[in-house]
């Protein structure tokens, strides 16, 4: 793409100064920034002295891909980071310098970095008993895992906004003017956060919030780590600063005067990660510290009809509306369907997508399907329909948790049988299911028949012990033979010293399940699932055993999986992303990937979810922000204003990331069968009515 004049200034000038670049989405800020990186390298700057800093890892992908594709001769690697990854690397490297000063009980021990999974585990293990004993949160009706996420989220906000974590409840309560119950909830959240933090300090455990705190409040104040970063990275490219937090902004305040060049990129009218501590107002103040200011105003993504749609929607959402281009028509940019029932809307979307792909030759990667939330049922229904139409598709997350994948269930069930000392029973159904997955061509009917006979006293007995020959024949001797191989392997394992769970899984996978004529042989997806489960179990053992060397982590892991605490995430890091496929994602996930497409399908347009901030009963992103005035109260009017702003930013943000057309899918009755009349739908209706009136008037 040819760069416009202002983009060229960003790309080719000011290599010895600091630039503040602003503009709404789609004006080519990131494109210009990528070009700047290339020019920097061409001008002789060492590649590894350039740091691309972003609020979340996915936002660095366009940089990495573009630079890899370009044939710029690089001498090193472009480094990309988030505040979280910087904090992790710095703490990992420089921990010995601060170990004595941070109040840890065992300063000479190594720190243990906690994954999200382990945070949930330790919450369940140590904080949950306290919550239950004292009946905390008895009026809150969200799942335990979301409850823990929010307790930790408060600690994260304290670290990222930089306030004392002991003041979480005080801050939240001072702004609250509703029933007293909410005050108790905030107190409970404070107590739980304190308990969790104390536990971390006792055991050298570092969750995200402590990593950030150690980096920002301790390491960054020491000369050596600060010099290390400043000397290594002399050229900064900081994208989406409006989605980043005050901790990052403060680091930049110190860093900017010392770097050789910097480009700070501010996306106006965004702030989608506010509920994670993003602070666009704080970000904008960095402008003062930059020597050159550039604003991009020309859209490089939207067609003129889409621009007209943006203007008309802005009017309907009571936002300042840019002028529509000449000869443009908002209605040409949208396709609107009024369905009565939810499944009809899904059919409508799938048919239109299929027609775009198969009849009009649109690349599936240029299509996204978005909804405010993406429950499993909707995702599954969409994927099924798209598969029926032979449209390649992908979802930002698979529809099942890792522990529910057949391969993972199989491994877990066989682990229970192979470790009778755990006393964790497996049901007959689970065992039959595991046999069908373990042995090729074994169907569930015959597996159940077999299990009914051979599984007694929590043990698998030999096939030859089946006295009824007819039954043996029905199961077949071939399957019986392979069952015997598996059974004997398990038997031999039981006689030996037990292995840690991950090692057991690996051995079972390698020696039996993935061998020819067994169920995982040639089944690449099953192997990937097994690998993910093994990673999860290994990380669990390695960290937990360092903290509690005497705990038998294997049954603990299995029990926690059964309880739904761990193995929920499915990280498909090794798998090839199906790049040329339709993306199905929650609207915010798409927005934050910051990659425009030609066609968008918005589903459930009538849902009130488009205009609601994320439900967080234990926390409050606005009150725990640096912009909150002490002593102020959060009023109903604030909530209304925020919801309006949320909807406008979301809808307009999506439109600005669309090149050609938006398909608006609506069903009178939502998934639950209720009538749908959300604010977005009202805005669309009012826009259409107004356009019709204006046309009649003309």
């Amino acid at each position: 793409m040819r760069l416009l004049k202002d983009q060229q200034r960003v790309a080719k000038e000011h290599f010895d100064t600091t630039i503040f670049l602003e503009g709404i989405a789609g004006t080519g800020k990131t494109t210009a920034a990528i070009e700047r990186v290339k020019q920097l390298i061409r001008s002789g700057v060492a590649t590894d002295s350039i740091l691309v800093l972003v609020p979340q890892a996915a936002l660095a992908i366009p940089y990495r891909e573009a630079l890899r594709r370009s044939r710029v001769a690089t001498g090193g690697d472009i480094h990309t980071a988030t505040i979280g990854s910087l904090a992790y690397q710095m703490v990992d490297l420089f921990f010995p310098l601060i170990a004595d000063d941070i109040g840890f009980e065992n300063p000479l021990d190594r720190p243990h970095f906690l994954s999200l999974e382990l945070v949930q585990y330790y919450m369940t293990r140590f904080v949950e008993p306290e919550i239950e004993a004292h009946d905390y949160f008895n009026s809150v009706t969200i799942s335990r895992s979301r409850l823990y996420t929010q307790i930790v989220d408060n600690l994260n906000k304290a670290a990222l906004v930089r306030f004392d974590p002991q003041t979480i409840a005080e801050r939240l309560k001072s702004a609250w003017r509703g029933d007293v119950e909410q005050g108790y909830i905030y107190d409970d959240a404070q107590i739980s956060a304190n308990l969790f933090r104390e536990m971390c300090v006792r055991n050298n455990m570092l969750d995200f919030s402590l990593q950030v705190t150690l980096f920002v409040e301790f390491l960054w104040k020491l000369e050596q780590p600060r010099r290390y970063l400043m000397q290594q990275y002399k050229h900064l490219i900081v994208d989406n600063i409006e989605e980043d937090t005050p901790a990052t902004h403060d680091i930049l305040r110190d860093w900017l005067p010392h770097c050789e060049s910097a480009l700070l990129i501010y996306d106006s009218e965004s702030g989608y990660r506010r509920f994670l501590g993003a602070d666009p107002v704080d970000a904008y103040q960095l402008k003062k510290l930059c020597q050159t200011h550039i604003k991009l105003t020309k859209h490089r993504v939207m067609s003129s009809d889409i621009q007209a749609f943006q203007s008309e929607m802005a009017r309907s959402l009571n936002q300042p509306a840019p002028k529509s281009p000449k000869n443009s028509d908002a209605r040409e940019a949208i396709v609107y369907a009024d369905n009565r029932y939810h499944p009809q809307m899904i059919d409508w979307a799938a048919e239109n997508i299929a027609s775009l792909v198969h009849s009009e030759g649109v690349n599936p990667a240029e299509i996204v399907v978005l909804a405010p939330y993406l429950p499993d049922a909707l995702r599954f229904a969409l994927q099924t329909r798209l598969n029926e139409h032979s449209v390649p598709n992908r979802s930002h997350r698979p529809s099942r948790a890792l522990r529910e994948e057949p391969a993972a269930r199989t491994l877990l069930t066989l682990a229970k049988i192979a470790h009778p000392q755990w006393n964790i029973p497996a049901s007959k159904y689970d065992i039959a299911y595991a046999l069908t997955a373990s042995i090729a061509q074994f169907d569930l009917v015959r597996a159940r028949l077999l299990v009914d006979i051979v599984y007694r006293n929590r043990q698998l007995h030999p096939f030859e012990q089946i006295s009824n020959e007819k039954v043996q024949e029905r199961i077949t001797f071939d399957l019986g033979n392979r069952y015997e191989q598996l059974r004997q392997w398990v038997d031999a394992y039981i006689q030996d010293e037990p292995l840690p769970l991950d090692a057991f899984f690996s051995k079972l996978f390698g020696e039996i399940l993935s061998q020819p004529s067994f169920g995982f042989h040639d089944r690449y997806e099953a192997a990937n699932t097994a690998a993910n489960l093994i990673d999860s179990a290994r990380r669990f053992r390695q960290t937990v055993n360092k903290i509690e060397p005497h705990l038998d982590t294997s049954p603990e892991y299995v029990a926690m999986v059964d309880k739904g605490v761990i193995a929920n995430l499915y990280i498909r890091d090794w798998q090839l992303e199906k790049r040329d496929s339709v993306l199905i994602a929650p609207a915010y996930t798409f927005l934050l990937s910051n990659q425009p497409v030609e066609y968008q399908f918005w589903l459930n347009v009538g849902s009130s979810g488009w205009a609601q901030r994320v439900n967080q009963p234990l926390t409050h992103p606005y009150v725990l922000s640096r912009q909150w005035t002490e002593g102020r109260r959060w009023e109903d009017a604030d909530e209304v204003a925020v919801n309006q702003e949320t909807l406008a930013n979301l809808a307009l943000g999506l439109i600005r990331r669309c090149r050609k057309k938006v398909y608006l899918g609506f069903s009178e009755f939502g998934e639950q069968g209720y009538e749908q009349r959300g604010t977005l739908l009202m805005a669309v209706h009012s826009m259409l009515r107004r356009l019709r009136r204006e046309e009649e008037h003309v």
Partner: protein, 273 residues
């Protein structure tokens, strides 16, 4: 063409190809995981990886200026402590003073890129690449000379190391690749370099990349014993049991690739929507 346009080669991916084309295909082209055991004593193997990783980290920290006694206080593993003491004794012998720990260089290689991650590069009149080894055995020199790591590291530094040398090209004759063995009181095996080797290596590497990119299939290795230590053995129908760690120790082998063992930072930092 077999390779995606943004493919980046590394010494270990090239070594995998040379050892077994099928392994290269599974691991880097199909990116297929196959989580069987590499050796029979998995825990001992894992412990060695952790020790190796910890030692590398200590040296990195030391080269960044953290005092040795501060670091020593934090070492709990006896082997690692001894290795670190050996390093303090002779690990930096005659190393030029400008040292770059844990540096990655990427250079173009034909249509693709080639990456080398150095433990340390020290630059002065000479340019010394050091690779810290914690393996039990020192391999034969001839074996090590043929390793892609020995070839690629020197080639990449000669080709793309100028920015570590104030913009001046590093001449092949300046370069030395030095393997340093912690378990053997800091014994070293060194490989010098010259223009002739550089030209030969360049031609060979380009030829290798061409071959990988254009070959119609990726056959299984004929060197069957290799399969004992390869996790894909069941997929290739090359046996059931992992090879023994005792055998591993007697062979010419390398340290385990620590890159396979790195923690996924995003796992720690990301917050779910």
């Amino acid at each position: 063409m077999n390779l995606p346009e943004d493919f980046v080669f590394s010494p270990s991916s090239l070594q995998d190809y040379v050892d077994c084309p099928r392994r290269f295909q599974l691991k880097y082209l199909q990116r297929q995981r196959w989580p069987a055991a590499e050796v029979d004593e998995m825990l001992e193997f894992e412990k060695r990886m952790e020790q190796g990783q910890r030692f590398h980290q200590l040296v990195h920290q030391h080269l960044l200026g953290i005092p040795a006694d501060t670091l020593t206080k934090h070492i709990s593993d006896e082997s690692v402590r001894q290795w670190f003491e050996t390093y303090l004794k002779n690990g930096l012998t005659d190393m030029p003073k400008t040292r770059f720990p844990e540096r990655t260089l990427t250079i173009p290689l034909g249509k693709y890129a080639l990456l080398a991650k150095f433990d340390v590069v020290a630059i002065g009149d000479k340019a010394i690449i050091i690779d810290w080894k914690t393996s039990r055995k020192i391999p034969r020199r001839e074996w090590l000379a043929k390793k892609l790591q020995t070839i690629v590291y020197r080639y990449v530094l000669a080709k793309g190391g100028s920015h570590l040398n104030k913009g001046q090209t590093i001449e092949p004759e300046q370069i030395e690749m030095r393997y340093w063995y912690a378990e053997h009181d800091g014994a070293t095996l060194s490989f010098t370099y010259d223009k002739e080797q550089f030209a030969t290596h360049e031609a060979n590497l380009l030829h290798l990349v061409d071959e990988i990119d254009s070959r119609p299939d990726f056959p299984l290795t004929e060197d069957m014993p290799r399969c004992r230590f390869c996790t894909y053995r069941s997929l290739c129908d090359r046996g059931t049991q992992a090879g023994s760690l005792v055998d591993w120790d007697t062979m010419d082998t390398d340290d385990v690739d620590l890159a396979d063992f790195e923690i996924d930072i995003d796992q720690i930092a990301e917050i779910e929507f």
